[in-house]
Symmetry: C3
Subunit: 401 residues, 3 copies
């Protein structure tokens, strides 16, 4: 022993140990195993590598910047507002051109509101009254516009009236033009500039191609011009499956999805945005309370005496949410190895399944079980130099999985 033993120990480190296999001449199981192997191989090559691009490292943490710019004017002539021209500064809220913007298409204007007392709107159930006692002074009207003063205001001859409120007076008359005021907003255009960056791969791109300026001035996005970043509002709404005039009247929310799905193993010019449009608010006509989109805002003025007054606007319109998401992939050795490795590991599971069939489900299972499992008994008395092989001891191997 001694030095020789250590040398043997060291050398044995470089012996290769490989599993001993038993060849079972069972064509049934053999074909089954080949089918399983081919399925796993097909899954690995077809799904993992070709469809899911498992050989690539991916980056989904996209940095994105969206700048939107609307163009278009609309002319309206109503009894309330007279002749009026609406331009971008009038109908885009907020004006900053971020990824969420609202285009006002219909509105209820309540001009010259001042802090005063006046009758509450008679459409509000809580404001209805028969006598002063119904209007508790100092109490806010539920879902109303002001605080009750304690008086019940009635028309001559009528029994029922409405509570007087301290509010911005006169209060809003709730009636919305049936036809949207800015129906022509359908022809407005929006220019969407979107720069993206995949930080992991230090790859940047923009949805505006390096084409000549005049193209950008005249093009409109369509299936023929998939890389033109200028969209007609009417088209966007139509592609989202809605009717512009109905939406302009009631309001709604449209999502503009920009998807960047880039294979950076290919040329950068192959990495292009894909646009899709969907309606984000639900549009069930049967649920009026939860459909549409509107909000109230006010413009504040001060008169010569220094008293504030305001114009209250209930704006209906379409909110556009530009949502950018993306994924970039590039060849990397580590995911490639992992995917191959786990695919091969799956083969082990296949073999396990075929073993079950071989050992328990076919006619000659008993025989193969005896061949596969070699029983060894350690008895301190005698040490066999050949394994004890017993081909027909069925109950012993039942726990073979």
């Amino acid at each position: 022993m001694g030095q020789v033993a250590w040398k043997g120990l060291f050398l044995s480190l470089f012996d290769y140990k490989t599993e001993k296999y038993v060849i079972a001449k069972s064509k049934k199981v053999g074909i089954l195993y080949r089918v399983v192997q081919l399925s796993i191989l097909a899954y690995l090559v077809g799904w993992v590598f070709i469809v899911k691009k498992g050989y690539q490292d991916t980056d989904t943490s996209l940095q994105s910047s969206v700048i939107t710019k609307l163009k278009g004017v609309a002319f309206t002539n109503t009894s309330e507002l007279g002749e009026r021209l609406w331009d971008v500064a009038d109908y885009v809220i907020p004006p900053q051109g971020e990824n969420v913007f609202f285009v006002m298409t219909n509105l209820i204007v309540t001009p010259n509101q001042r802090q005063a007392t006046c009758p509450e709107s008679d459409r509000i159930p809580d404001a209805l009254c028969y006598k002063d006692g119904d209007c508790r002074a100092g109490e806010a009207v539920v879902a109303g516009n002001g605080v009750k003063t304690g008086r019940c205001l009635k028309d001559r001859d009528s029994i029922r009236g409405t509570c007087e409120v301290l509010a911005w007076c006169p209060v809003e008359k709730r009636s919305k033009p049936k036809k949207p005021l800015l129906a022509s907003a359908e022809n407005f255009t929006v220019y969407i500039k979107n720069s993206i960056r995949f930080p992991k791969f230090k790859f940047s791109k923009m949805n505006v191609l390096a084409t000549n300026e005049s193209y950008l001035k005249s093009c409109r996005y369509s299936t023929e011009h998939p890389y033109c970043p200028i969209f007609l509002l009417g088209n966007i709404v139509q592609w989202a499956g809605s009717d512009f005039q109905e939406m302009a009247s009631e309001g709604g929310v449209i999502g503009i999805q920009i998807e960047w799905n880039c294979d950076l193993d290919k040329a950068p010019s192959e990495c292009n945005p894909h646009y899709s449009f969907s309606r984000l608010d639900n549009k069930f006509a049967e649920k009026p309370i939860s459909s549409g989109y509107n909000f109230r805002f006010a413009k504040y003025y001060r008169d010569a005496e220094g008293v504030d007054y305001r114009t209250l606007i209930k704006a209906y319109g379409i909110r556009f949410d530009v949502m950018v998401n993306g994924k970039a992939g590039k060849f990397n050795i580590i995911p490639t190895i992992i995917n191959i490795g786990s695919g091969l590991a799956l083969m082990g599971a296949g073999a396990f399944f075929c073993d079950l069939v071989l050992l328990y489900l076919i006619k000659k299972s008993n025989f193969y079980r005896g061949k596969k499992y070699e029983e060894v008994k350690s008895t301190s008395r005698k040490s066999f130099s050949s394994p004890t092989l017993n081909g027909n001891q069925s109950p012993d191997q039942v726990g073979g999985l």
Copy 2:
């Protein structure tokens, strides 16, 4: 050979090869292996399949649209502003009803500011002066409101004064009402409409249930009404663990999380939002510089002479951030197979561990090592028809892992 050999080759493709096993009649290791197997099985079934729903394909790229709408009025009577009623258009900033909205609950108003010269606030260290030389003309006051004109303005008898500045004059007097002005904002309600869509499964849902309209007009979210989308601001703040009056005075940020965790193998009606509330700014009273939430904005007016003046408002209040996230899962064969496969692969690791015990850690290790490993020597002279089996050659197998 020839044709016969090729036929044999082809047929041998469908022979099934299965690992040969040695049965070690060691109850210790056998029980250990069964325990390991059961643990892996329990992990696979319990954790991977039942808890993590590993048989499902998941979609986490939720498309979400949030529309918020506040209701409520507040009446205030202060020496500064007189009797005043505040409605939605007054206290909600911005008015659009997006997923982030701010409710103004306290404010410092500085009316009638004009471009002029006036003394800087004496609370700003950089504006304090003893003589004109301390106020370098044209220099901006650090953290101040204007640009120094070069004069030091003092009260009679006092040694110390403040620099004169060119600014919107008069400058803001920094004193905030101790009691929040709009303390009654606690009773305002917010109606949160949230539509979501899981694009991978083409599944859409809304947090507003298809109940009758009158329920939506009167309900308030609570543990009894978990699907009512109307929230009392006071409740939100309380559920987030804060005190409304204190928050209304100093300002703060509240997060409203809406979580959609949908198992699409079940009925769509089982996919319901879950709301939770948390305070997002930190509220350590010991760090006044970093607590609270406020900002300044101005309303601009023009007088008869065409000169601009403004009302500066320092607004304190509560910002609400509605954050939606979700996950949907649906049965899919691919993740199911992958999870079963990798679970079985884990069994291999268990077997490896038990092998270590069998071959190196138990008393009869030596014996089993000899049985497990069958040494074959290839000698060109003679070719044994049976393997050379040697049961007791300890140093050679030490590298057996």
Copy 3:
């Protein structure tokens, strides 16, 4: 049989079955296998455990709240606006201090616009005309400011004129100051308060350290002060690789990334934000149509007669997008086991590869193939008590993978 057989069956459940290995005394393949094993081990320990911290459960669903606050004043003296001081309420849009804010640095002011008729700007191609017939009444000017009235307005002597439009008059004269008006915005500061929370681990932190207040009043973020949350706008733009004066003139978008990469196995004080800055819009000077950032907004006034007029402002400036992302990890037994298990499964793939070499690529492949695969034939007549081992039957084992 009977009871004895069942007992045997039960006991055999606790026999340990271990694969029988053949020791191939091939040093080449042995060394190859050790190299593969070491590579996998190195990958597992080095990449999976040390670099990727595979022993940790991670949370990437960060809850974040950003509050921004600008400080700084600028004094301008132009022929158009006269002496004017700009403070935070003037140049920050929107004023709320959210995670996206815009600092106005240059502007084109068109004061006193009223609804009227006037000549369209002669820079708009669609508005050029030679005779009234070129201006179809009621038609909106493409990319223009109003609706044509049908008249073509010409200067004396000139052949070409511009269409008269109904618009907010006078229309904007398109000329932007070459030098940015608020060039001194470079010295403005922004205080970014960011609170984060990892819900899975119930861990909260803020980017403002619990230092004394005076430090926060005077510090500026730099490599020496990496935890100071107050940033000089000029520095941010410089770190993003842009020139402030050029950006102030044309506008642009800057991203401020805050990254929280927290190892919660360490002390909470080790979890600190990391700031980075990048330009988000592209800045290719050769594409003027797609560079820069600007938008139009208006301030509305009402004169003594109750007629609305407005000041139109085309604002150029820098939009800052504060983007927070993060990841927290904490030790968890489940990912640890999974990663070890799948690492070991990878070893199986290594063994498979070495088997290929042993059985098909080395000189003595034939011999080893015979040793590894033990052919068993099931013949109903006789049952061998020892396996049929045949060392040299090459064509039969070719399908051995």
